[in-house]
C-alpha cells in the first residue's frame, strides 16, 4: 500500500487505456505520455499495461508501508527519504520511506510500483476517466491521505539500498517538429492555408489539459466548414474557425465537429502531450510508412532495453527555485496574488514569510497552483509582475529580504 502525502496539481492512476466503450462515448484515455508510462513499468519490472500514477507539473509525495521497487520517469530528480536520485531509474524503497517526485521535464511524470497500482479495473481498465468519474482511485484525482493499493512485491532476499536500476541507454526525449499525417478532412483547408499551417510556429496554450492541447497561432483559415459530429482518433488536429488548432490526446471526447485536417503520428503523440504551456510547436508532414516505422523503432527500443544495475550515487544538490532573494515562477500561467478577487493579497510589504505560506496562485491547465514560500522567517518585499498577467516558467515573480538585510536596507 502507498499513502499519498501530497498529490500535487493533479495525480491520477492511468494505464494504457480503456477500449471497447468508445461507441458509448467513453474515451480510451490512459496515460497521456504512454512512452514514459511504459518506461516506468519496465524499470519497476511490470508489464506495460500495469497501472502507474501520472503526476502533473510539480511535486507529489508518497509513503510506502512496506519495502518495494519504485520507478519514476518524466522527472529529472526524485527524493527518496533525504536522498536525491536521478529520474528514469528504479530504486528499492523501505517501509515508511517517502518518495517525492520533483523537477518535471515536461507536463507529466510517472511513478510505477512493483506489481502495479492494484485498484480494481472498471470496464476493463484501471485508468481514471475524470469525465465519467470512474476507474483509478474512486474515479477522481488522488488527494493527500489516500491509501492506494499496490501489487504484490516479489520478496527476494537481500535487496540492498546501494544500487539502482537504470536503462543502459536513457531514452531520447525527442525535440524538434511534431510529425503529422494528412487528416481525414485535409481537403477542407485550402492549399494556401496548408502552406501557412506548415510554416507557422504555434504556442501551447495554458488552457491545455489531458483531453487536448490548445495551440495559438498566426493564421486564420479561410471559411472552414464544420462537420457533422464524427469519431476522433487520438492525435487528431481539429482546426477551429478562429485558427486555434486542438491536438486531441487519448482522453479526448470521442466525437467532434471541427474538421480534422491532420493527425499527429503515434510515435510523437507522447512528446506532444509533454509540451508545457508556452512551448513553441511546428508541424512536419511525413508518410504513413515513415510514421509506422517510427512507432516500430520506439517500441523496439523499449522491448530490447536491458535494465542495468548501477551503484546508487546521489545526484547533485537539489536545485532550488529560489536564488538571491528572488522567487521565480515554478510553472507558466496566469498569476494571481489573492485567493479570490474580493480578498486581500496573500502578502504585503514587510509581512513575514514562513515555509509553505501561500504567496500566489498560478492558473495553468485549468487548475490553480499555489506558489508557496521556500524560506522561513524572511521578509516579503513585493510582487515583481502585474496581477493577472501571464508569467513564464522561471520568470522572477516575488522579491524578499533576509531579515538582517532588511534592516540594512532601511
Amino acid at each position: 500500500m502507498m499513502r499519498v502525502l501530497r498529490a500535487g496539481p493533479q495525480s491520477v492512476i492511468q494505464d494504457l487505456g480503456r477500449y471497447g466503450y468508445q461507441p458509448l462515448g467513453f474515451s480510451s484515455g490512459g496515460a497521456a505520455d504512454t512512452a514514459a508510462h511504459r518506461w516506468a513499468n519496465l524499470l519497476a519490472g511490470n508489464p506495460p499495461e500495469a497501472a502507474t500514477v501520472e503526476m502533473m507539473l510539480q511535486g507529489a509525495e508518497f509513503q510506502f508501508n512496506c519495502g518495494t521497487w519504485v520507478a519514476v520517469t518524466g522527472a529529472k530528480s526524485v527524493k527518496v527519504g533525504n536522498e536525491n536520485l536521478p529520474g528514469w531509474c528504479a530504486f528499492w524503497v523501505q517501509a515508511a520511506e517517502t518518495v517525492r517526485v520533483e523537477d518535471f521535464q515536461g507536463v507529466y511524470a510517472y511513478l510505477a510500483v512493483q506489481g502495479g497500482i492494484a485498484v480494481d479495473p472498471v470496464m476493463g481498465s484501471r485508468s481514471t476517466d475524470l469525465v465519467a468519474g470512474v476507474g483509478g482511485f474512486m474515479g477522481r484525482p488522488l488527494k493527500a491521505g489516500d491509501d492506494i493499493p499496490t501489487g504484490a512485491v516479489l520478496a527476494e532476499a537481500g535487496w540492498n539500498r546501494s544500487q539502482i536500476r537504470r536503462p543502459s541507454h536513457l531514452p531520447q526525449l525527442g525535440t524538434g517538429d511534431i510529425r503529422i499525417l494528412p487528416g481525414p478532412r485535409q481537403h477542407l483547408m485550402n492549399s494556401r492555408d496548408w502552406q501557412e499551417f506548415l510554416a507557422a510556429a504555434y504556442t501551447v496554450g495554458t488552457d491545455s489539459n489531458r483531453m487536448g492541447i490548445r495551440l495559438k497561432g498566426p493564421i486564420r483559415p479561410h471559411s472552414l466548414p464544420s462537420v457533422l459530429s464524427e469519431g476522433m482518433a487520438p492525435g487528431s488536429i481539429e482546426m477551429t474557425p478562429d485558427g486555434s488548432p486542438l491536438i486531441l490526446l487519448p482522453s479526448r471526447g470521442t466525437l467532434g465537429g471541427y474538421p480534422v485536417i491532420a493527425v499527429v503520428v503515434s510515435a510523437d503523440l507522447s512528446r506532444a502531450a509533454q509540451c508545457k504551456p508556452g512551448t513553441a510547436v511546428r508541424f512536419r508532414l511525413i508518410s504513413v510508412d515513415e510514421a509506422r516505422s517510427l512507432w516500430r523503432d520506439q517500441m523496439q527500443k523499449i522491448a530490447e532495453e536491458a535494465v542495468e544495475w548501477h551503484d546508487r550515487c546521489p545526484s547533485g544538490p537539489e536545485e532550488s527555485h529560489c536564488e538571491s532573494r528572488i522567487l521565480r515562477a515554478p510553472l507558466p500561467g496566469v498569476i494571481y496574488f489573492r485567493p479570490n478577487p474580493e480578498s486581500q493579497p496573500f502578502k504585503r510589504e514587510n509581512d513575514t514569510l514562513n515555509t509553505e505560506d501561500v504567496l500566489a496562485l498560478i492558473e495553468v491547465m485549468k487548475t490553480f497552483q499555489e506558489v508557496t514560500s521556500p524560506v522561513e522567517a524572511r521578509i516579503f518585499s513585493r510582487y515583481l509582475v502585474e496581477e493577472g498577467s501571464v508569467v513564464k516558467e522561471g520568470q522572477p515573480i516575488i522579491e524578499w529580504f533576509d531579515a538582517e538585510t532588511k534592516e540594512g536596507v532601511r
Binding site: G25, D129, L181, S229, A233, R292
Partner: protein, 242 residues
Amino acid sequence: MKDWVVRQSGENAVLIELGSVMSEEVTDRVQAVADHIHGHVPEAMDVIPGYTTVLVMVRPGSEDQPWDQVTADALSAGPRMPGSSRHITIPVLYGGEYGPDLLEVASQRHMDGADVVAVHSQQDYRIHCLGFSPGFPFLGELDPSIQCPRRSSPRRMVPAGSVGIAERQTGIYAVASPGGWQIIGRTPLRLFRPEATPPIVYQPRDRIRFQPIDEPTYQAILEDETVQTGNWPEWIWTGGLK
C-alpha cells in the same frame, strides 16, 4: 456502385464516410458497418460511429485492411438487428429546478411550458450516435415548433439525467458535465451503471420516447433500489408507466 469514402485518420485509424446528411437511412448504414467491423475484423480495437461516419481504430502494427471490401460486405449484410431496434421509455420530470430552461424555450417559441412538454414527449426519437460525453445519445429529429438554439453561454455543470434540446436535436446527459444545451427536464433513471454490462443500456438505432412524470413519481423512481442498482423495470421496454 461504391457510395462511400475511406479516409486515413493517422496511421492507426480510418474514417469511413457513408453519407453526407443526418438521416435514418444513413444511421442504418453506419450501424451496419460498425457492427460488421466489430464482429469480423479482429485488428479493430474500437469502432466509433458518428452521424454519417464510422471511425475504426486498429491495433498499432497490424496489417492494412481492405476497407472498401469490408464496407461492401457490411452493407450487403445489413445491421445486426435488421429493422427491429428497441423501444425505450425514459420518464422525465419537466420544468422547475429539473428543467431550468423550459420556460425560456417556451417564451422563445411563444408557447406555454406545458405545450413544449407535450410536443417533446409526443414522438419517438432515433438514437443516431452516442458521444460528446459518456452515454450522451444524439436524438433526432426534434419537432420544428420547439427547436431552439444552444444557450449563449454553457453551464459549468449540468446534472446527470438532464434532458436538453439544441437546434434539431434532443439528448440526455448520462453523466454530469459542462453543457450548453437548453435543459428542459431530468430523468430519475440511473443511466450510467459502470458495474453493469453494457454500462449504457441504449445504443444507436434504438428509439426513445420521453414520458412526463410528476415529482412524487420522480422521487419514487429515484428511491427505488431495484431501478437504481439492478435491471431497469419492465415498463421501460413496454411503453412506459401506466
